[in-house]
């Protein structure tokens, strides 16, 4: 059962991955990428890494890809134009890709790449175990990666922020603190003396 599920998910994953790079429309490509992420989460559940699987969906499918889709939808690029040089660059790309594949095969099949003693835990680690490991044994690497992300975030904001001089900002605190007395001033005025209306004309005609 598990093996059959693995092959089904693996086939979907490979197909989705292929469609990401072959889809003509970039929005479709992003959707295939979402499917690829989701399927790899399914694969992780098969090896009982449920926390990893669910966090993959929460972070990548739920947040990162939403923003990605957001950006891709707003792109205004002629993709036919970009595709024109495909066959011209194909030989160079093929050589680079082949070298990378050979390198990967070399390193993955090498004896040095095998981690001794690495095996799947029978019951699968619980979230509590994972938390305990991260905050005791792997505390420093974890904090360092958090700082790295923070630096990345600050850099991204620093690069994109544009303060325009003529922008009007609201100060909700001040708006709420406003009292009626700050806005309306009630003046005390002496009433004018009543004018004597001419006696020969009725009051209604004067109004008209």
């Amino acid at each position: 059962m598990t093996l059959a599920l693995f092959y089904i998910f693996a086939a979907v994953l490979v197909f989705a991955g292929l469609r990401v790079i072959t889809a003509k429309n970039p929005v479709h490509a992003v959707l295939w990428l979402i499917l690829a992420f989701f399927t790899s989460a399914c694969l992780w559940i098969l090896i009982k890494a449920e926390f990893l699987a669910v966090s993959l969906v929460v972070i990548y499918v739920g947040a990162v890809m939403v923003l990605f889709l957001f950006v891709v939808m707003m792109l205004d690029i002629n993709f036919e134009e970009l595709r024109k040089g495909f066959w011209k660059f194909f030989p160079v790309a093929a050589v680079v890709a082949t070298i990378m594949v050979v390198e990967m095969i070399l390193i993955l099949t090498s004896r040095n790449a095998q981690i001794p003693g690495a095996m799947l835990v029978e019951t699968g680690p619980t979230v509590a175990d994972l938390g305990r490991q991260i905050y005791t044994v792997y505390f420093l690497p974890f904090q360092l990666s958090a700082v790295l992300l923070l630096v990345g975030m600050i850099a991204a904001i620093g690069l994109t922020i544009r303060k325009r001089k003529n922008t009007k900002y609201q100060q909700p605190g001040e708006q709420i603190a406003v009292k009626a007395a700050d806005r309306v001033r009630v003046l005390k005025m002496e009433a004018d003396a009543r004018l004597e209306a001419p006696a020969d004309k009725p009051a209604g005609e004067q109004q008209a």
Binding site: M1, V27, L31, I34, E50, F51, V54, S55, V57, V58, V61, G62, A63, V66, L67, L69, F70, M73, T126, V127, A128, Q170, P172
Partner: protein, 351 residues
């Protein structure tokens, strides 16, 4: 337990694996059918509640007290023509409403109704709900994009920004729940709230700020009034749904109400003690935990959705973003630290 007889019988009849699949499918039907019924009658309840709040009667023509109104609405929507804009992206145009509805229903897999009555009692239940509900926004974005209409696209943009912003506050509110229950399993979270004095041992009181943030963010996540800028009819007509008609429109509608029920159920499971009674255990009958308490709590939270809609004017877009980022996230962050310190301190009530 007697209910165990059914899967045993199925396993005997069909073999272990097929028996398991059939039993799971049966359970899914038992969960989804009442939810769809609840969704249908939530539309009637909404019109009735808002009607009475505005000193009207609400729908009362179809059936006694208008009780058949949802059926009439359903038939009308089913029979209407489905129109496809000629310049739309056809496949995605019809995929989008399904993509909105499916997560709204799939999240119910881990919601416990009573001890033992849950489809999948998984360890990471809380995270599962977050993961699944965060996928619903794709349907909205795709609907906006595939419709090839400016209003729809603007609605989709607003939806994406709003949902992503409020998801953070919602996630932080859930972190507080995780801290005090030291588990992500939903049944476990409810059991942790049990106590001899009923209501006082729920998460409601110690996590009150988180509860308020969670529920308001839930209203924003479901794009309900007063956070319905996504479909703001005065500005962008109906947002991402503008080009949809008939049943494809109805799917968006169903998803919205299914999501409201889900938020109501999640809020009552995580903060209001699910099936636990609000009264002290020593009281006869009233003190016993029951599925009916679960129903009463969820129904009350649902009523809040309708009450909000009838009461509050719509937020302006920048106010909405300010509320999410500048108020809710700081509030939750501070309260998480307070709760974390409380849990490890000698005054901890959770041990």
């Amino acid at each position: 337990m007697e209910i165990q007889m059914i899967p045993d019988f199925l396993n005997g009849l069909l073999g272990n694996e097929i028996g398991f699949v059939v039993w799971t499918l049966l359970k899914i039907v038992c969960i989804v059918a009442p939810i769809m019924g609840a969704v249908a009658y939530a539309t009637l309840a909404e019109r009735k509640v808002i009607g009475y709040m505005q000193i009207r009667i609400g729908p009362n023509r179809v059936g006694p007290f208008g009780l058949l109104q949802p059926v009439a609405d359903g038939i009308k929507l089913l029979l209407k023509e489905i129109i496809t804009p000629s310049a739309s992206s056809k496949g995605l145009f019809f995929l989008a409403p399904i993509w909105v509805l499916v997560p709204a229903l799939a999240a119910w897999a881990v919601v416990p109704f009573y001890p033992g009555f849950v489809l999948a009692d998984i360890n990471v239940g809380l995270l599962y709900v977050m993961a699944i509900t965060s996928m619903g926004v794709y349907g909205v974005i795709l609907a906006g994009w595939a419709s090839n209409s400016k209003y729809a696209f603007l609605g989709a943009m607003r939806a994406a920004a709003q949902v992503v912003s409020y998801e953070l506050a919602m996630g932080f509110a859930l972190v507080g729940v995780m801290l005090v229950s030291s588990s992500l399993n939903m049944t476990e979270i409810v059991n942790k709230q049990a106590g001899a004095y009923g209501l006082v041992s729920w998460n409601l009181l110690p996590l009150l700020p988180l509860f308020i943030v969670y529920f308001i963010s839930g209203v924003a996540e479901t794009n309900r009034a007063p956070f319905d800028v996504v479909e703001g009819e005065s500005e962008i007509v109906a947002g991402h749904m503008i080009e949809y008609s008939g049943m494809s429109f109805a799917l968006f509608f169903l998803a919205e109400y299914a999501n409201m029920w889900l938020i109501a159920a999640m809020a009552s499971v995580m903060f209001l003690g699910g099936w636990l009674s609000p009264f002290p255990e020593s009281w006869p009958i009233l003190g016993a935990s029951s599925f009916l308490w679960w129903v009463a709590k969820v129904a009350f939270m649902m009523f809040l959705f309708l009450w909000f809609r009838a009461t509050f004017p719509r937020y302006r877009y920048d106010q909405l973003m300010r509320l999410g980022w500048k108020i809710f996230i700081p509030v939750t962050l501070v309260w998480i630290i307070v709760v974390a310190a409380w849990v490890v301190s000698p005054f901890s009530i959770w041990n």
